[in-house]
Amino acid sequence: MIRLENVSKSIGDLEILNNISFPVKKGEFLCLVGPSGCGKTTLLKSIAGLRNYAGSIFIEGTQSEGINRKIGYVFQEFSLFPFRTVKGNMDFGLEIQKIPRKERHNIVKSLIELFRLEGFENAYPHELSGGMQKKVAIARAIATNPEILLMDEPFVSLDAQTRNMLQKELLRIWQKTQKTIVFVTHNVDEAVFLADRVMVLTKRPASVKTEFPIKLDRERDRTSYKFVEVRKEILRELEVEYVD
């Protein structure tokens, strides 16, 4: 579905990405973890076509250049359009693609149902809780039905409870929509809870350090022995990156 080949990037003398190659399978949930400031966001924005880079990125076999309609993106920031309602935000990408009004209306309606946002259709972002804003941001990103969803630490600014709730929501939506997800986080617990595969990146310049297939069943229990074991293993890898 996605294939990165020797993706590198530097700005002036500052090397940010160092020769990154990896594939992502269709329908896979991949989590990228790495120390803060290691270049995770740059990597994700490169895949989305928001940054330029050296090397190649293939989306469904064809080399991707610039913005790709097959990709939806969820930002780290609260990035809803403040001047549009919940519905209006979800509608944005559909309007840009000049989809007929009636069809847009139906898509937005089904998104409202999928994300259980009934009653908030006409609310403005400032009237929503942080968690709800994130839900709308995910809905906006998948409104145009891209096959791939890139998520850049989307839950980072939320409290622990909201975060856990949204992780469950995200899994539910992933299972329902069968998207391919690349999810960046620095939270190992989150990665182990969500991912089919966790990839650990080195500190800047980022390169692939190790990867862990997560062979836990989908009903994951954060307190189970196996879960904690996997977490420990990944943390050990990651901690090496924080030393020196």
């Binding site: 993106y73 930002f75 990035s79 359009f81 001047f83 990408g93 400032h126 906006r140 145009t144």
Partner: protein, 250 residues
């Protein structure tokens, strides 16, 4: 709430009483009391004199203000949007600290003392707040909103029209409101400096001064204040209606 209102009324009454006492004590025809000024104000209103002057003044303000909007608004948006145009702000920053009234001598040299010269002064007064507010509003659009548009497939043009401008709307409207307020103040000052046609609120108070009628001067000042207040209130109300999405607006 109610108590605050009572207090406010009390403060106004106290002020009026103080004014009356001072006027009585000074006992000069140049210091009329509130009741005399009030009577004059009513007389001028009833006779239609005040309205006539006010309408002419308003027409001058509207002309200068609209001219400023048509030039400053697109220019400000363009300057905020295009990185190359941004450097033009150097010139704006140099011109901006010059008080609009300092342009009066030039306005008189260029346009004489007629309608055009008043419009020019008002234009200058309204121009800079409108320009800088639209410029800042556009330039300070959060980059992630622009990128959000970009990943959703929006072109540069669509990003400007559908994201940047709506997002700058509160700032733009505030610029319009401040611009109109300054335009109003500039107008009266511009009218004080001489006129071809003898109408306008500024003219009214100047003429009253020549005749030593302090009560007419004060009535004219009150009219200027009231109209300025109403314009500001109307624009603020419109602002709140139009940018309901902003929240925490007072």
């Amino acid at each position: 709430m109610n108590q605050m209102r009572t207090q406010k009324v009390f403060i106004i009454l106290f002020f009026v009483a103080l004014w009356e006492i001072v006027a009585y004590a000074v006992n000069s025809r140049f210091v009329p009391g509130p009741f005399q000024v009030g009577r004059t104000f009513v007389q001028l209103t009833v006779s239609g004199d005040l309205a006539e002057h006010a309408v002419v003044s308003l027409a001058r303000v509207v002309a200068g203000f609209l001219l400023a909007v048509f030039i400053a608004l697109p220019l400000g948006i363009f300057m905020g949007w295009s990185p190359r145009m941004e450097n033009f702000s150097v010139i704006v920053e140099m011109l901006r600290p010059i008080p609009p009234l300092a342009w009066i001598p030039l306005a008189m040299l260029w346009f004489g003392i007629g309608f055009q010269s008043k419009v020019f002064i008002i234009f200058i007064g309204a121009f800079f707040p409108i320009l800088s507010n639209s410029f800042l509003g556009v330039r300070e659009t959060p980059p992630y909103l622009i990128e959000a548009g970009r990943v959703l497939g929006a072109t540069d043009n669509e990003i400007l029209r559908r994201i940047v401008i709506p997002n700058s709307f509160p700032s733009i409207l505030e610029g319009l409101r401040i611009g109109l307020g300054i335009a109003w103040m500039c107008l009266v000052a511009a009218e004080l400096t001489g006129l071809k046609s003898p109408v306008g609120l500024g003219y009214l108070i100047m003429e009253a001064r020549d005749l030593g009628k302090a009560d007419v001067v004060m009535a004219g000042m009150i009219a200027i204040g009231v109209i300025g207040y109403i314009m500001n209130a109307v624009l603020r109300w419109t602002e709140n209606k139009l940018v309901r999405w902003k929240g925490d607006q007072t």
